[in-house]
Amino acid sequence: MNQPNHDLIASDIDAYLNQHENKSLLRFITCGSVDDGKSTLIGRLLYESKVLFEDQLDAVASDSKKWGTQGKEMDFALLVDGLAAEREQGITIDVAYRFFSTENRKFIVADTPGHEQYTRNMVTGASTCDAAVILCDARQGVLTQTRRHSYLLSLLGIRNVILAVNKMDLMNYDESVYDDIVDTYQAFAKDIGLENVTAIPMSALRGDNILQRSPKMPWYHGPTLLSYLETAEVNDEHRRNAPFRLPVQWVNRPNLDFRGFAGSIASGSVKPGDTIRVQPSGKTSSVARIVTQDGDLAEAVAGQSVTITLADEIDVSRGDIISTTENPASTADQFETTIVWMHEEPLHSGRPYWLKIGTKTVSATVTQIKHEVNVNTLEQTAAKQLELNAIGICNISTDQPIAFDAFEDNQETGSFILIDRVANHTVGAGMLHFALRRSENIHMQATDVNKDRRSELKGQKPAVVWFTGLSGAGKSTVANIVEKKLAAAGHHTYLLDGDNVRHGLNKDLGFTDSDRVENIRRIGEVAGLMVDAGMIVLTAFISPFRSERALARSIVGEREFIEVYVETPLAIAEERDPKGLYKKARRGELQNFTGIDSPYEAPESAEILVDTGTLSAEQAAERVIAELRKRGLLEP
């Protein structure tokens, strides 16, 4: 394949460049079970398209001796197993990206691991792909992993799927073996809604039906792998036919005369003069110019990064979506979604996360995990939390309306990631299905007697004093003394603690992480209502997770939320053990006990810190009162 190319390079480099500057680009992913030969296939593609240099081949040849699994032959897999740790273990841990090109196309290959524990890596690799190659060992047929990968591809909306029936050389290139596998697979693919699957029999090791049609399988009349990949439709072209969307990335304002909105066109096309709607605000205008450094454009299409200016001065900022007025994006704040969980720390409903969709980042909580999907059997099971690599259908609610499209209609404006608010990890990937029209019809009733009026009557400033700390730290004791002092001074107070909450409002909740999250969410809501009633609320709960305390803070409001960290070394708390719980936990009779087998995340910036290891309960209460005075919540 490369020989004519070499001629052209040598004889007419300008003609060669001309040809190669106008190639298109296809991204694809390879997936399949552990030994299906993914790395071998990619190594083969790189080798055949002559992108390997002698020094690289030398390195592989020497590595083959050390780690190779192909005896004397060159182990192509070693070309692509990048990290030292991976080579030693002979597996692919992370997504690796490889590049090669033919005369018509440049290819970017995402090579992803096969094991179930790397589902997140596969989803990561597939999310940017135009096509997918699922490898299947002809000796093994369709395996659980094949099914799982196919399901993930259908979930991510990959439109070009190739079932590569590999290692045909080991099955004597037998047509009936191939037919059986394809029949089984097609029936399954139909079930999960995977359309447009092309099956190709091949041997990556021997090069059959990769580039050249294999003379050993004259019964096969379809395309070879590369000829399929060279003609598959790329997503940009597909997205060009969808309605126009431009998520605004950055407002370009070099001087007072220019105000441009920069972003990558997610779908559709745009011309100067087109009328547009800015969402979620809903304001309309028309496109004045499409500005690029190479000159203004008469038209811009999906996949291009542009800067547009509008005919009218309207408010547009990062995170907004500029849509066509004919078919604008929807806006909502509650959705049904599919979430793929990607972190060791599970997803808890009720916990707030950052949600990034397009260029917009908002705060969001999963309000309900409707069910989890077993990726191997596709069964739906009930779930209270999603573990690493779990996939769930979840309802989600955002703290402000966002512009979106259903993922099925538009992958760019219907996909999102979830980010942990404390550690900042990317913890989940999601696809929006539809808006839940719920809160839309529940309007806040404006009442004449409001919080200000209620607190005025009580002659106090309402607040939540939130005590947190280990069991036995003295939260309830200190809170109790503080309440007595406040009541003595004529304040209206209420102390929420385990006794009055766990026995009633939250008696359906246990002590798993998920239940703890929900427990604190409800307490936060109740405390919020009491503050609205004008009360000074004291809460005494372990509340071990930072994110839930942050949630409670966001429900109540920053100004009225005072976090008190009752600090005590674990040893002292355990020695006190007023309810004998530590002893029980140590004996293994009590599961999920904070400090023993469940973590406590200490506050990083509590308003008040009292150390009951050195202070008496009375002194600690005095310190809290003094601090409330200092903050102007109590009269001096």
């Binding site: 390079i9 004889s11 300008d14 990206y97 440049k106 190479d294 000159g295 454009l297 990317t426």
Partner: protein
């Protein structure tokens, strides 16, 4: 294709047949299958015909006649200046009979007693700047655009498309202008003048018309000293139309006030100028370079929108050059909203320093330079401390110092995934701990085009906007966009010594010579640039971008082989990265 085994006579008959068929208007593919030659060979035969007529088509038996020896550089320089004197038109002299072609240069060389092949003659022409590459190369108008309509119409009317361009030619302390017309089939006609004027220009066009024997359909870009009014004048005289394209780049010498400056829109002058605001339509399918460009720009804008204090690391190499070019595009018309940081080991090539300072000024970037003064004071050098320690102290440690000193939270780097195995697995947004360590096992998943730029106060992010570019993409883009690069990438006479199988340039007197080493002048160039004692050169005659690309494509060793620091072990880069090396 197995034509190399055919007897030369059969081959030549096929070539002649191919040219006849092409002239009859058959498509390249048809001709190729009819005569049994590859498409490039048909193209080459056609080119030979264009250059030398029917006699030029046949290939000569391989092997060079004994009489021709390689010419010395001195002799070549002498020939160049004689040729320039011969070709240069005096002021007011008209170019009717003074058109030059590659064939004429060949003929002239033979007249000078220099018996060389056509190929060698054209190589010399190229190295003297007298055979510039065609501006048509890489240009393929998309259907629906004004240029597409123009080229289609020209073909229908059987007019010859010619691309007009000008190029400065330095001779001694003077600079002349080469005015060129390239045909679509690769013929280059030129004249050499002191400066182009309306008269010369119009006469040039009629001489070209006479030479090709058909009416012309000229195409030109607007930033090269060819004025719009001249073309209008020519159109009025001939009744033919021309196509003006927007300038590819701001020209350095476009100080003439009447020149239509860069970034004007594409205009076909056969339309009334008033309604000629025919802008660029979108291409039918984005090319790989367009997609890569859009992705890089998206990444840069995302960083600027989310980071508090971003910086762009500038290494002065070709990847950095592309990154700078993209940064200017991403924020146009605003200037790029971040400074450049060069971590200077003090051991870079002198030409790199010169280039760095001028490019930062030209593009309007603020340039910060950081050196590990402590390390420099201790006299750390690649000669005394070895490459590993040198890199660690003057590069890795210095980089950390600079990021900490200025409090940069996000740093752009020009690394590509195709460079090296551990980079192939690195994310576009790559997190570093407070100690600048890379943790390959806990990389954040990166989905769709949704980049998570959230981090703690003490953490930082390295962002690689060129992750998905390959070395070839970089060169093609530099070629397509005319991006300036350090001259060290081009072949030149440089003082070098050979050491441990590498050619090392003696760039200054800090380099201790070993016993028996004397620097000698060689024609070399660099495929990658770094500290001069650690950067191996390759012997090369590549003096233009296309030469470089050609050489790279025909090369058999990878780019980083010239980089001594990667030679240690195959896991060494992974280790360096974990320690904070970019």
């Amino acid at each position: 294709m197995s034509n190399t085994t055919s007897p030369i006579k059969v081959l030549n008959e096929r070539r002649l047949d191919a040219v006849r068929r092409r002239l009859d208007g058959e498509s390249l593919a048809d001709v190729s299958s009819a005569v049994g030659l590859s498409v490039p060979t048909v193209v080459a035969a056609m080119k030979a015909y264009d250059l030398g007529g029917w006699d030029g088509v046949a290939v000569k038996p391989r092997g060079r006649p004994a009489a021709t020896k390689a010419l010395t550089p001195e002799k070549l320089d002498e020939l160049k200046s004689t040729l320039i004197q011969t070709a240069l038109l005096g002021d007011g002299e008209l170019p009717q009979h003074a058109l030059w072609t590659a064939a004429r240069v060949h003929e002239w060389l033979n007249e000078q007693g220099v018996a060389v092949s056509t190929a060698t003659a054209s190589r010399h022409s190229k190295s003297w700047g007298l055979a510039p590459s065609s501006p048509a190369s890489g240009y393929k108008p998309a259907p629906g655009t004004e240029s597409h309509r123009f080229t289609t119409e020209a073909r229908r009317l059987k007019r010859r498309l010619v691309w007009l361009s000008t190029h400065p030619i330095a001779a001694g302390d003077q600079t002349h202008t080469l005015l060129c017309a390239h045909t679509a089939r690769g013929l280059c006609l030129w004249v050499l003048v002191n400066r182009v004027e309306q008269n010369t220009f119009i006469e040039f066009l009629s001489a070209v018309t006479e030479h090709v024997g058909t009416a012309l359909a000229p195409v030109t870009r607007l930033n090269q000293g060819i004025e719009k009014t001249w073309i209008q004048q020519w159109q009025q005289q001939t009744g033919n139309s021309a196509l003006l394209l927007p300038a590819a780049m701001e020209s350095d010498n476009s100080n003439s006030s009447s020149t239509i400056t860069a970034r004007s829109t594409m205009t076909a002058l056969n339309q009334t100028p008033d309604k000629a605001s025919d802008l660029l339509l979108a291409p039918e399918q984005l090319t790989h370079l367009q997609r890569l460009e859009a992705e890089s720009i998206h990444i840069m804008r995302e960083v600027v929108a989310e980071a508090e204090n971003p910086v762009m690391l500038y290494s002065i190499g070709k990847d950095s050059a592309v990154m700078l070019h993209l940064a200017v595009k991403a924020f146009y018309p605003a200037p790029p909203p971040f400074p450049l940081l060069h971590v200077d080991t003090t051991w870079k090539f002198q030409e790199m320093y010169k280039f760095r300072d001028s490019i930062a000024k030209d593009l309007g970037f603020e340039l910060l330079v950081h050196r590990n003064e402590e390390g420099i004071k201790q006299g750390v050098s690649p000669f005394t401390h070895g490459s590993e320690l040198h890199t660690d102290i003057l590069k890795t440690q210095a980089l950390k110092q600079a990021l900490d000193k200025h409090g940069f939270d996000v740093a752009f780097g020009g690394a590509r995934r195709d460079e090296e195995k551990s980079r192939a697995k690195e994310r576009v947004f790559s997190f570093r701990t407070s100690a600048h360590r890379w943790e390959p096992k806990s990389q954040r998943p990166e989905l769709w085009s949704l980049y998570n730029a959230k981090k703690r106060k003490d953490e930082s992010i390295r962002v690689f906007p060129l992750s998905n570019w390959t070395e070839l993409d970089i060169w093609q883009y530099i070629h397509q966009q005319s991006i300036p690069i350090v001259p060290l990438y081009f072949s030149g006479e440089r003082p070098v010594v050979e050491r441990d199988g590498q050619i090392i340039m003696v760039d200054d007197d800090r380099m201790p010579l070993l016993e028996g080493e004397t620097p000698e002048m060689k024609r070399v160039r660099f495929r990658t640039l770094g500290c001069y004692p650690l950067t191996g050169a390759v012997e090369s005659n590549a003096t233009t971008l296309t030469d470089i690309i050609q050489e790279m494509l025909l090369a058999t060793t990878s780019e980083r082989q010239g980089r001594l620091i990667d030679h240690d072990t195959s896991a060494s880069m992974e280790k360096k990265k974990q320690e904070g090396y970019f």
